[in-house]
Amino acid sequence: MESFFATELDDFATGKLSRRALLETLTLAATTTYAAAPASAAMAPDPALKVTLVNHISYNCPDFKKAADWYSKVFNLDQVGASKIDVALPFGKKGEKPMGVTANDVPLTHLIIRSRDLNAPAEGGAPRRKSQAVMEHIGYTVADFDREKAKAELKALGVENVRDGGLYSLHMTDAYGYDVQISGVANNALSDGA
């Protein structure tokens, strides 16, 4: 798409295309061509284990109820299937599909907020390995994101450590000091770090 824009712009700059024609051509391309492009056009070759979406984020903390209440309050998330040690917070209502997904076997992404001993053996009895990597923050997409309005909303909710993040987002800390980022769809794999 960028190369198409560049060609049209060059034609305009050299007088081959009028300003009006440039405006019309770019507007048409921007509002139709990208949306019509097949998703597979830019995807990597098929590996044997191709992931479709994040299924869940496993979040462990001292008091799962306290963290779950924070995420429910800030993101209007329901709490589902609470046990003595955990609860799930799906990113939508039962029966809804994740944004952009048409397949019927891709469930809503959800948080599972837990309070468990990570030194205890994992499923299957093997001891858990100590990771040398860390998931240092999570970014969430919210509807109608407007940074200044979002700051005011977060302040009203009592959220701490709210600060700008890059061009399109805000960072904050949750009930346990974990770094949380929010943005609209403008923050995505193409724009982030571009």
Partner: protein, 179 residues
Amino acid sequence: MEKFIDRLIKQFESGQIGRREFCQTLAMATAVFAGGAQANAAPAGRGFKMLGLNHLSYQCSDYKKARDFYSSMFGMQVLNDKGKGRANLAFGPEPGKGGNFLVVHNPGANPLKPSEAVIDHIAYTISNYDEGKVRAALKARGYDAPTGRDGSRHVYDPFDYDVQFASAAQENAFRREGR
């Protein structure tokens, strides 16, 4: 969109932005426009309407090692890798239209912020999950004995981070209802 492009052309004509910036800005706006149609209005009252996960920020000592693992193992698409210590690994719907991405990066100049919470694993959904094919694919990559159960398996990545991948049948928040 037409007004936006009109302003962009004016900026180009006046020399405020160059050719490269013009094209990049318009490409980004196009992606946002495409995704915006699905962005539903926020509900009345406090809090935000969650549309979904945006990205996961994964810090490790060698982002290239993580990049190669996740792209070759799970088919994630490498984007914005400028060889400067980070890359985006995209998957799912198109960027800006519901797609997720994993940002793999080296440690930055700032130390990690202290937190009492930890993300101890991430689970990914595989559409059309087939246990036999999954086990064969894992074996071909040297994972002879993944933990977990049929339809929900765990492996460790090169930095011993716990990675789960699952079918919708086994991992779905609403399956927990009434348990």
